[in-house]
Symmetry: C2
Subunit: 327 residues, 2 copies
């Protein structure tokens, strides 16, 4: 989808947890949590509160009220996306609930941009969140067990990112978007999500480059969501095998950048909030500061559930991509 | 959203389970399941197979291959929407994963129509499914327990509906769509979903009527998704209190129509597949036969999760609406 009237990211906000704040990108986030509960009674309510605050802060930054928002497009990793829908209830704006696992933020950017492009809506909030504690107990084990994690596992980021899209104004433009296909190369290790998602990211990024007749050289940076170190290297290998030029210094993964090695996060960060917070903080701010002009941003999701894993199913991956441009 | 180039429903297919086949609408469905497992190893895989078959049959009916589909928009009630994402993997088309609980089908129709309206895509499949056995064990209790259900509970339909939207052709047109807000009047009984959703349906339907400057009189039928008997009567009461004319014989609920009282389904049918299958079967077929010309179709979702209920949260409701027109 090439947008004829490219929407503008009028404002963006990011919130991250303590561990994320202690990492190499810590100084880029707009807000850092002091504790995991944010004064709420449960981690799920805390995650929902992160979404609400991020959305409110993005609106404040643009000087808009929630009533001016035509749609909130968003989701999270919680079953039935409760973090986002409970935040949508407090916000009061029309809500488009999405589920693309960790790709949700970029899914929302591509869809929101399409709806604004053609004038169906003027203003959209796009958000995605994750919380280590809600994800861990839902997808893996109770935190209290202190279960050991294999080296290929990623660490679900406690983070939220929210972008406010408008039909006009000054800022980063979303110029094109690609909707990905579900790709599954039969990886069934639910701890090895980078490997499960890399083929989908390859499929979507190469489709986006070929459909828009561009190469990696046309972008200052190509950003992937949460492949982590292992998945990022597998993606490089896929580009190499396909004979598509992809300079190693141009391909940056949000998950692989979020934590320092000594933070014990193994393969890197993951979760809906990873690409959402890192792109709203580290990427968009550098674009606005003039360091980056054209960025190809992709998100990737592992569409597994504990039920599908327990039933021995492999992990379907999906990926979406958008071109961002700062003039 | 009023669509300037209204997309056409080029084909639609419905699949329903045995209980649904035995109900008053049984003869309208395109296919009935002989057993709940469909030859698969689990109910989840069976539900996914329902989605795949429905999509395939809709494509066959229009003489299209899966490669011609620009996007599959859909979802289901399973955690992480695995029924739909595993079907999307087999289909191979670009996938937009949605979560709007039981409103997902109408959410997909409104979004898919918007994307086609403006030419971003030409052909979209919209699907939603539910399966009594997958939903019951995920949201309530293991089926083997034989737990007694309270009288206000609804029965999750084993059903799937799929509509193929195209940018041109002959058939039912989608002329307008309304994206709903999350509305929550603090109902916290997870068995009383009709009551939780009725205020959201009221909000969306009255917004749709008022935004398009129409009244109930402009439609031959106003169809709600899965409010059931109780929720449908509450909705009538809300219209009455607001002074909005809504003739009782014009307001039909898919859930309240799906089963006969003697089938022991209490408040009526629910689940993503309820409005999807009933509208693809009973409503769209009657439109094509000339019995109905203008229909206002809404879906409603209860955005709860077992976690939010166990934490004592109330049930946020959401609703989407589309205007359907047969010339």
């Amino acid at each position: 989808m090439v947008y004829s009237n490219p929407p503008v990211i009028a404002a963006h906000r990011s919130i991250a947890g303590k561990k994320e704040g202690d990492g190499p990108l810590g100084m880029w986030f707009d807000a850092l949590l002091e504790d995991d509960l944010l004064g709420q009674k449960s981690w799920e309510l805390a995650e929902s509160e992160m979404v609400r605050r991020c959305a409110r802060d993005a609106l404040d930054a643009a000087g808009l009220s929630a009533g001016a928002v035509d749609a909130l497009l968003g989701g999270d990793l919680n079953n039935q996306i409760i973090a986002t829908s409970f935040a949508a209830k407090k916000l009061g704006a029309p809500f488009i609930g999405l589920y693309g696992a960790c790709s949700t933020f970029v899914e929302g950017l591509a869809l929101g941009a399409a709806l604004i492009d053609v004038g169906h809506i003027d203003t959209a909030l796009v958000s995605a969140s994750s919380h280590f504690c809600t994800a861990e107990r839902q997808f893996r084990f109770p935190l209290e067990l202190g279960t050991q994690r294999p080296p290929q596992a990623s660490w679900t980021a406690t983070a939220c990112g929210c972008a406010l899209l408008r039909d006009r104004g000054v800022g980063i433009k979303i110029t094109a978007g690609t909707l990905g296909r579900v790709i599954d190369l039969e990886i069934s290790d639910a701890n090895h999500m980078g490997a499960a998602m890399a083929p989908a990211v390859f499929d979507t990024l190469s489709a986006h480059l070929s459909d828009t007749r561009q190469t990696a050289g046309d972008f200052d940076l190509i950003v992937t969501g949460d492949l982590g170190w292992i998945g990022r290297n597998l993606l490089m290998e896929l580009f190499d095998r396909a004979g598509i030029d992809m300079p190693a210094d141009k391909l940056v993964d949000c998950g692989a950048s979020l934590y320092a090695q000594k933070q014990d996060s193994h393969a890197g960060g993951s979760g809906c909030g990873c690409v959402a917070s890192v792109s709203c903080a580290w990427i968009m701010k550098r674009m606005e500061q003039g360091e980056l002009r054209r960025v190809l941003l992709s998100g990737s999701g592992a569409m597994l559930s504990p039920t599908s894993s327990q039933q021995g199913q492999s992990i379907p991956g999906i990926s979406y991509a958008v071109s961002l441009e700062m003039n």
